[in-house]
């Protein structure tokens, strides 16, 4: 009811509102920069990521090598740009994959009463597996390729989304506008998409941001453990794993990718948090 207070004001766009808050504004800018860096890696990177120069191994940061060189004399900065591509695209793929699975499961459980119990139990059971552990087991079973890592993490995160979607669907299903659509004889699939899915978009977006962040961390963890995507594709996680051996001679190899993870994940969380504030009416209710 409190939403009545300002019904006549038209709202500015979501991005504008995110930019309007200092935290999410910074987060968004950082994310855009990182995404640009990843996208433009081939043009920005001063060296080819795999270009080795054994004579110049373990050189500290200089003007030639902004972030120094690694154990094979490769340019850490260039590799980080390419690693951003891999890490971000894996994480993004995880978000997409888990969203699809989660949305299907959540909508099914939430909208079709008969399927609720079985699907929810399945989701509960899937939730019972700790993320990295399940991912490790799946990757171990399927083999450490990018596709399998994405699938494994996707399966790990899908139930979370499924729960969110289910919870929202349960609410939306009972809302009068859905009933109005039913009263008009609108077919169920159309109702699902036009009314339900559209309105669970906000929680999915919020959750998706957090899954993105978690997926980056999880992928790094998997790579660190050596069960991530193929090690000849640089990711931040594999870079840390390599850099670990040179922690005190050549700390930069490990510090820069670690910092990249922290910054990216932090930015995502800042944005996600603001998104939740802006999109979740429960929390937005009194201001």
């Amino acid at each position: 009811m409190a939403a009545v207070s300002a019904p006549l004001q038209s709202e500015p766009g979501l991005v504008a509102r995110l930019m309007g808050r200092p935290t999410s504004g910074i987060g968004l800018i950082v994310l855009v920069l990182i995404a640009l860096a990843a996208l433009l890696a081939p043009w920005i990177a001063p060296y080819a990521p795999a270009k080795l120069s054994v004579a110049h191994r373990l050189e500290p940061p200089t003007l030639q090598h902004l972030f120094g060189t690694d154990d094979l004399g490769r340019d850490v900065f260039s590799r980080m740009l390419y690693a951003a591509r891999a890490s971000l695209s894996v994480a993004l793929a995880v978000v997409v994959f888990s969203s699809i699975v989660g949305i299907v499961l959540g909508l099914t459980a939430g909208f079709f009463k008969k399927l609720d119990t079985p699907v929810s139990r399945l989701v509960d059971a899937m939730m019972a597996f700790p993320d990295i552990l399940l991912a490790i087991a799946l990757v171990a079973a399927l083999g450490p390729t990018a596709v399998n890592v994405v699938m494994a993490l996707g399966i790990v995160y899908a139930p979370r989304l499924a729960r969110v979607v289910r919870a929202s669907t349960l609410v939306i299903r009972e809302l009068p506008y859905v009933e109005a659509a039913r009263a008009l004889g609108v077919p169920t699939p159309v109702i699902l998409v036009r009314h339900v899915l559209r309105n669970v978009a906000s929680p999915i977006l919020v959750q998706g941001t957090f899954i993105f962040a978690n997926a980056i961390l999880a992928e790094a963890g998997l790579s660190f453990l050596g069960v991530g995507i193929s090690p000849d594709i640089p990711t931040w996680g594999t870079m840390i794993a390599v850099g670990r051996q040179y922690m005190d001679q050549a700390g930069w190899i490990m510090m820069f990718p670690g910092a990249a993870i922290v910054i990216t994940v932090l930015a995502l969380q800042l944005v996600g948090d603001s998104l939740r504030d802006l999109l979740d009416p429960r929390l937005a209710k009194d201001i």
């Binding site: 154990d71 090690p231 040179y246 001679q249």
Partner: protein, 488 residues
């Protein structure tokens, strides 16, 4: 001066898959179990075979077919029983059946018997020079266990005659060995693995620490008296204070094994192209950092070994010969469509690093390269299948007996089996005079370089860390801690 007492923690590269040294060729199994179990022979200085449980070197018949081995008396097993020839025969028969090296020997062994309680007799089908070395080895080892346990497979009672006995084992946590008070040492001086074995330490604990950096940090923090197999990068780190570096020089050699049976490398011209393309200098630098830890060396055995020679090694190009490689490729009609598959793992980081450098050089020469990076377990499985790879990367310590190297057999992955090889190897194996064998080995090395069934990258040293107060440890590829003591 040596003092009795004390407990040491030894950080090892992981948990040994088994404590039955017959069942595995893993170095780690040998390192741990050599304290518990003993063999008839072992290696003394300069890798000369020397008796351990045997009283003396065997009497070999003139035709080289009968070995009569006298046994020491008064030797007790950890369970208190006495060792006699029946135990030895039962143990050796088990070895023939179970151990990789035992199976190898079984092909030439006609029979093993005990003429009396204190000697055994081994009859051969044909003269076989490597036999004593095989008996002396500490992995897939011909250990002597009580005859009543010899029927066990897998072994569950770890009863040996060694200076230390198994007290407790918590997989992935520790293997605890305690001094065996009934141990009877040989008299006289210690002689590398042989000679007298002194039991100064009360307990030796092997702690599996699979992560090399954790081993380094543990050593630096003073947690381990000895930490095995450290990354060479850690040298500076372990050089101060609570621990000090131990370099075993030379330790072994990294090797690229080529699949001579199927795929690209079944064509000798391609193999020669690989041989020409690779640049060991950069590969070793990437893998081991400074020349303190490696040597660019084409000889199959480095200087200091009886087997050292330089025959054939001009095919070994320290900085690679890209043009020659490209020419060879062209001659072979390689069009760059089929990738050269390099199977490697990151279990040993230096394998992977060499692979990466190798890839760069091979690509320069015109190869299309695909790195297939898998877990070690997968690698050991996949290398069995000739369809899956063209090169796989491994390494080996310098084995005291050249015929123990895998590629010397026709059946190990790589499947190198040519007439030239057979001719050289058979001559080598049949000869028992060491001096003549060294000469014959030149031929073997020549065939290896001519046919390129393997590519030896170079020599590398092993780095370990040792507490400053730990004394009496002889640098060895498989470190042992009898004879060691803790300075007060």
């Amino acid at each position: 001066d040596p003092v009795k007492g004390g407990v040491i923690d030894v950080a090892t590269v992981g948990e040994p898959p088994t404590l039955d040294p017959m069942a595995s060729t893993a170095d780690l199994v040998g390192i741990v179990t050599q304290h518990i179990f003993e063999t008839l022979y072992t290696f003394g200085k300069d890798w000369a075979v020397t008796p351990l449980l045997a009283a003396d070197m065997p009497q070999i018949s003139a035709d080289g077919l009968t070995y009569t081995i006298p046994l020491r008396t008064g030797i007790k097993f950890h369970d208190g029983s006495d060792m006699d020839s029946a135990d030895v025969v039962a143990s050796l028969e088990r070895w023939e059946k179970i151990a990789t090296r035992g199976k190898q020997a079984a092909e030439v062994i006609a029979g093993i018997e005990a003429p009396d309680a204190n000697s055994v007799k081994i009859t051969l089908k044909k003269p076989y020079a490597p036999l004593l070395s095989l008996l002396a080895f500490n992995n897939a080892a011909a250990i002597i266990i009580p005859s009543e346990n010899a029927g066990e497979d897998p072994l569950t009672k770890f009863i040996g005659t060694g200076p230390y006995m198994l007290k407790d084992r918590k997989p992935d946590q520790f293997i605890q060995l305690a001094r065996f008070d009934g141990y009877k040492s040989r008299d006289g001086e210690s002689n590398f693995y042989g000679g007298a074995r002194k039991q100064y330490l009360d307990e030796i604990r092997f702690v599996p620490v699979p992560d090399p950096n954790t081993r380094v940090e543990g050593a630096v923090a003073g947690q381990f008296a000895y930490a095995d197999a450290l990354p060479v990068e850690a040298y500076d780190k372990i050089s101060g204070g609570k621990t000090k570096p131990v370099i075993l020089k030379p330790f072994g050699w990294p090797v690229f094994v080529m699949n001579t049976k199927e795929g690209l490398n079944s064509d000798i011209r391609i193999r020669k192209a690989v041989q020409a393309a690779l640049a060991p200098n950069d590969m070793l630098t990437a893998a081991f950092g400074s020349t303190d830890f490696f040597a660019v060396d084409g000889s199959m055995y480095p200087e200091g070994f009886a087997w050292h020679n330089i025959v054939g090694i001009d095919a070994y190009k320290p900085d690679g010969d890209t043009e020659a490689a490209a020419a060879l490729l062209k001659e072979a009609g390689y069009d760059g469509s089929k990738p050269l598959r390099i199977l490697t793992s990151r279990q040993y980081e230096f394998h992977y690093k060499m692979a990466q450098v190798a890839q760069a050089y091979l690509e320069q020469a015109g190869f299309k390269v695909k790195l297939d990076v898998v877990e070690w377990a997968t690698l050991t499985k996949n290398r069995q299948d000739p369809k899956l790879w063209d090169i796989y990367i491994t390494h080996s310590p310098f084995l005291p007996e050249p015929s123990l190297n895998g590629f010397m057999s026709d059946t190990t992955p790589g499947w190198w089996a040519t007439d030239a090889k057979h001719k050289a190897v058979e001559a080598f194996n049949a000869e028992s005079d060491p001096a003549k064998r060294a000469k014959l080995y030149e031929d073997v090395q020549k065939v290896i370089y001519d046919e390129a069934p393997i590519y030896k990258v170079g020599d590398f040293n092993a780095l370990a860390a040792q507490a400053p107060n730990l004394e009496g440890v002889t640098p060895a590829p498989w470190p042992f801690f009898w004879n060691a003591w803790l300075e007060k």
